[in-house]
C-alpha cells in the first residue's frame, strides 16, 4: 500500500494531551455538579475518529469483516457494536464516520486498508480534529431544540439516528446512540463556542458538567 501513506499520529505516552474542550474547562465557567440539573454535559475525549470514503458496495464487506458491524447504508443512521463503544455513521452516500475508543484507530485503519486492498476508497484519521460532547438529562431535547433546526422529536429522531446539521452558528454531527443520550460531534476549533452555547441555552434548566 505504498500509494497511500499511513501514519500513526498517536503517541504511546498521553502525558500532556489536551482535548478540544480542555481550554474551556480550564477557563470556565464550569457549573457545579447539580442533582437538579435538567441537562448534563460531558466530553468523551480522545476517541479515535476516522473518515471513510468510498462506494458502499466496495466498503460493506470489509467493514463488517474488520469491525464486526454493518456499514449503515441508509442515510442518517448509525450502527454500533454490541458494547456500544464503536460506531459507524452515515455522513453522505460515500462517506462514513467511524468512532472507536482512543488508541484503536490506527490498527483499525491498517486492518481496513488491508481488507480493502486495491479498491478505490479513502480513509483519514481525524481524531485530533473533533470531539464528542454528550448531552443527557430530562431537558436535553429541549436544549437541542434551542440550538438546531433539525427535528429532535422522538418520532423524527429515534435512537440510532445521526445527522449532520446546523447547531447554533456551527455545524455538528448529532446522534442518539441510545435513549436519553445525545452525542454532538464538533470540530475542535468550535468546541469552546459550542460549550459556551450549551451552558447558556441550558441555563434555565440547570446544567451540570461531568469531567
Amino acid at each position: 500500500m505504498s500509494e497511500i501513506r499511513e501514519f500513526d499520529c498517536r503517541p504511546n505516552d498521553q502525558t500532556g494531551a489536551e482535548s478540544p474542550l480542555a481550554w474551556s474547562l480550564q477557563r470556565g465557567p464550569v457549573p457545579d455538579a447539580d442533582t437538579q440539573a435538567g441537562v448534563t454535559l460531558r466530553e468523551s475525549a480522545f476517541m479515535g475518529h476516522l473518515i471513510l470514503r468510498g462506494g458502499a458496495i466496495v466498503l460493506d464487506e470489509a467493514v463488517r469483516e474488520v469491525l464486526g458491524i454493518n456499514l449503515p447504508a441508509r442515510p442518517n443512521t448509525l450502527t454500533l457494536d454490541s458494547t456500544g463503544e464503536r460506531s459507524i455513521q452515515w455522513l453522505s452516500p460515500d462517506e462514513w464516520l467511524i468512532v472507536v475508543p482512543g488508541g484503536e484507530e490506527f490498527a483499525l485503519e491498517k486492518a481496513l486498508r488491508h481488507a480493502l486492498g486495491q479498491a478505490h476508497f479513502s480513509l483519514v484519521n481525524v481524531s485530533g480534529g473533533q470531539t464528542v460532547i454528550t448531552l443527557s438529562g430530562p431537558k436535553a431535547r429541549e436544549t437541542l431544540k434551542k440550538s438546531t433546526p433539525y427535528d429532535v422529536h422522538p418520532s423524527a429522531f429515534p435512537v440510532g439516528k445521526g445527522v449532520t446539521t446546523i447547531f447554533a452558528k456551527t455545524s455538528v454531527t448529532l446522534r442518539q446512540p441510545k435513549a436519553d443520550c445525545w452525542e454532538l460531534i464538533v470540530r475542535r476549533s468550535f468546541a469552546d463556542y459550542l460549550y459556551r452555547w450549551l451552558l447558556d441555552a441550558a441555563a434555565e434548566f440547570g446544567v451540570s458538567v461531568e469531567r
Binding site: S92, P93, T165, I166
Partner: protein, 130 residues
C-alpha cells in the same frame, strides 16, 4: 425559509443547511483553448435568470456536502423537484407549459404588482426572435 428535500439524505432539511450555487447544468466548454472570448464569457457570466421555472445547483453544505439540482419557481418559490447530479429534470418549463395547455390552468405569477399581468407572451416573443 425553504424546506428542501435532499436527494442524497432522502429527507427534508431546512434551507440554513444549504447554499445555492447558481444555474444548474452549466456546460464548461469541452475545449476551452479553442473557444472564442465570446463563448468563454458566456460560460463564465451569462445566465438564464428566468422568472418562472429555474433549474439550479445547490449544495448541502451543512449535511452530506453533496451538490444536487433543484427545479424551483422563482416567483412563488415553490420547489417542484430535486434531483441528483448527473440526472436530468423531469419537470421543465416546457413540460409544465404542456400540462397547462392540457388543463387550461394558468400558474400563479406571484410577485407581480399588477393584477392580471403575465410575465411573457409566447407568441409575441417568438415573433420578436424571428
Amino acid at each position: 425559509m425553504f424546506h428542501i428535500y435532499c436527494p442524497y439524505c432522502e429527507e427534508y432539511r431546512e434551507e440554513e443547511e444549504f447554499h445555492p450555487r447558481g444555474q444548474a447544468h452549466l456546460q464548461r466548454p469541452a475545449d476551452p483553448e479553442n473557444c472564442s472570448d465570446e463563448q468563454w464569457g458566456d460560460y463564465l457570466f451569462f445566465r438564464d435568470n428566468p422568472r418562472g421555472i429555474h433549474h439550479e445547483l445547490w449544495v448541502h453544505s451543512v449535511g452530506c456536502r453533496k451538490f444536487f439540482n433543484i427545479t424551483r419557481h422563482t416567483a412563488n418559490y415553490e420547489i417542484l423537484e430535486t434531483y441528483k447530479m448527473g440526472e436530468r429534470p423531469s419537470i421543465t418549463a416546457e413540460t409544465l407549459a404542456a400540462d397547462e395547455r392540457q388543463s387550461g390552468v394558468q400558474t400563479a405569477s406571484g410577485g407581480w404588482q399588477t393584477v392580471g399581468a403575465r410575465p411573457e407572451d409566447e407568441a409575441l416573443n417568438t415573433e420578436a426572435r424571428a
